[in-house]
């Protein structure tokens, strides 16, 4: 659990329960978690925190999760972006060009949240290696 405090996560979801239960897991894991209910709020957080990771829902009120990631990448290209979606989804070419791969897309409900934290750590390691 320790050693994860360096990893900061911005969690974007308009559903309170999803934010709460995924957030609780991430906090227990030792990550520093920031919460946003939509893309606009999340953009501000990303600009302030330049987080290690940002997990965004796909369907958000206002701008979509895709549009949010595209804009957030412009602000903080060092952040690893992950998508969390309840719908059928195929990664767009734009998001692929930002370095996202199918492994960065998580389908709801995530059966085992450890798969998410594993990915967060893997992306954080990659960032450590490249930055």
């Amino acid at each position: 659990m320790s050693g994860n405090a360096d990893i900061s996560v911005v969690l974007v979801d308009d559903n309170d329960i999803v934010r709460e239960c995924v957030g609780a897991y991430l906090e227990d894991e030792g990550f520093t978690v920031f919460y946003a209910v939509d893309g606009e709020e999340a953009l501000e957080l990303v600009a302030q925190q330049l987080p290690t990771t940002c997990i965004s829902d796909l369907r958000l009120p206002g701008m979509s999760g895709e549009a949010f990631i595209e804009q957030a990448f412009g602000i903080s290209p060092v952040t690893a972006y992950l998508l969390h979606t309840g719908s059928d989804y195929l990664l767009s070419d734009t998001l692929r060009s930002l370095g996202m791969t199918p492994e960065d897309v998580f389908f709801k409900p995530i059966h085992e949240l450890a798969t998410l934290t594993d990915r967060i750590r893997a992306r954080a390691l990659r960032r450590g290696a490249t930055v």
């Binding site: 320790s2 559903n15 329960i17 999803v18 995924v22 609780a24 309840g86 709801k108 409900p109 949240l113």
Partner: protein
């Protein structure tokens, strides 16, 4: 053709008449030749048409038949002449019986979708009877078409339509259900972790409120709370698996296609089947004689291996279960066969189990259709198999079966290469 001229000329015996005779005979010969030629091309036309054709009189006696009629009845035209059409085509007896009415009322009659079964196949026919258009004739033309392929394509189309509807429904439902389901599963996981001694914060908070985490855990354990939480997780997982399965009906997904050797996939599936709990304990899989007939010249096939394995395992399980539950006297066996047919790799799984009736056969790929008792099967297995093969792999899947005659499921996969997104390249 002037036959009267001929009679007249023969009666006269002068020189000029002789010349006329010669000319008339050559005209006659020409006419006969033309008639013969006409007859030949008429029968060529009849033989070329892809229908079974016969003309019969009011009593059903045959006057003329074409080649396809000969093939179906097994009787050549020469022998068929004058015979009862019902005798030659007993499978159409019920329909042919009405030929009298067709002739008497001068109204054509059509029968669609006549199912004719033999041990090996079932075929669909349409049968038409037309009164012959001629003043003084009381004949009828019978035309029979083999419409099996047409019916098969219609069945496939209806199935595809049904599945795309279910796909839309499943995607909508999944989206609504996934968040609450996630909350159930993930919060059960959170609860387990918040009383775990492995997370330092738990000890800190316990001390803050003046309890020991060990005692809290002992209490929860003694009252079976950990079991309850475990059940919540298991149940949530089961529901989530059903939702994930249903998403196959619509999911375009990230396809991980790879080119593999079909024989090794089948062998792997047999291994999986042998180690499957239900197969071992309930369906006595090791007692089933497995016959493998793999084509040697099969090219490698592009597929998402785990998905095709899921499909084949499901088919094997259904076969094993059907045979285990039927109390059949014949020793159970399953044939696994691969062949190459018209650019498709064909996998046939043939069992000698109890088979199924037509009602079951046409509904077998329907989601939530199950012949198993409630709680045993979700009725999703074969419908997911259908979606995986047709939607995910651009292949097709078919069932042939009759009660008491076993079951044959054919899975056809394109032997051409597929790119990573699942399109045929």
């Amino acid at each position: 053709m002037n036959f009267q001229a001929e009679t007249r000329c023969i009666g006269e015996s002068n020189y000029g008449g002789l010349v006329e005779d010669v000319r008339d005979i050559s005209e006659l010969k020409l006419a006969t030749e033309r008639l013969e030629q006409f007859k030949m091309s008429l029968s060529a036309i009849l033989d070329t048409l892809p229908s079974i054709i016969a003309t019969v009189d009011r009593d059903g006696r045959i006057e003329l038949v074409n080649r396809r009629f000969e093939l179906l009845s097994g009787v050549v035209a020469r022998d068929a002449y004058g015979m009862q059409v019902e005798t030659l085509l007993p499978q159409f007896k019920d329909q042919l019986h009405h030929v009298k009415e067709v002739i008497d009322h001068k109204v054509p009659v059509t029968h669609e979708l006549i199912l004719h079964r033999t041990v090996a196949t079932s075929r669909y026919y349409s049968l038409h009877m037309y009164p012959l258009i001629s003043e003084n004739s009381s004949m009828a033309v019978i035309r029979i078409e083999d419409i099996s392929e047409h019916v098969r394509i219609e069945e496939i189309m209806a199935q595809t339509e049904k599945m795309s509807m279910v796909g839309g429904l499943a995607a909508g439902m999944a989206h609504e259900i996934n968040n609450p389901l996630g909350a159930i599963m993930q919060n059960a996981q959170n609860i387990e972790r918040r009383v775990s001694p492995d997370i330092p914060a738990n000890h800190v908070v316990a001390a803050e409120v003046g309890v020991s985490l060990e005692l809290v855990r002992a209490y929860l354990d003694k009252r079976g709370i950990f079991d309850f939480i475990g059940h919540i997780r298991t149940a949530g997982m089961r529901a989530a698996t059903i939702i994930t399965d249903m998403l196959h009906f619509s999911r375009r997904g990230e396809a991980r296609f790879e080119k593999v050797d079909l024989a090794s996939v089948l062998d792997e599936v047999l291994k999986l089947a042998a180690s499957d709990y239900d197969m071992k304990k309930l369906y006595n899989f090791k007692n089933i004689r497995l016959v493998r007939e793999y084509a040697a010249d099969l090219p490698s096939v592009s597929m998402i291996v785990s998905e095709v394995e899921q499909v084949l395992l499901n088919i094997l399980k259904n076969a094993a279960q059907a045979m285990a539950g039927s109390g059949q006297t014949e020793a159970p066996h399953i044939l696994l066969q691969t062949t190459l047919r018209e650019g498709m790799a064909v996998i046939r799984i043939v069992d000698n189990g109890p088979g199924m009736d037509e009602v079951t056969r046409v509904r077998i790929f329907e989601p939530f259709f199950s012949t198993k008792p409630v709680g045993i099967g979700t009725g999703l297995g074969l419908s997911v198999a259908y979606a995986i093969i047709t939607k995910g792999h651009h292949g097709s899947i078919e069932v042939q079966s009759q009660p008491g005659n076993g079951c044959c499921i054919s899975v056809m996969l394109p032997a051409t290469s597929l790119d990573v997104r699942g399109g045929v390249s």
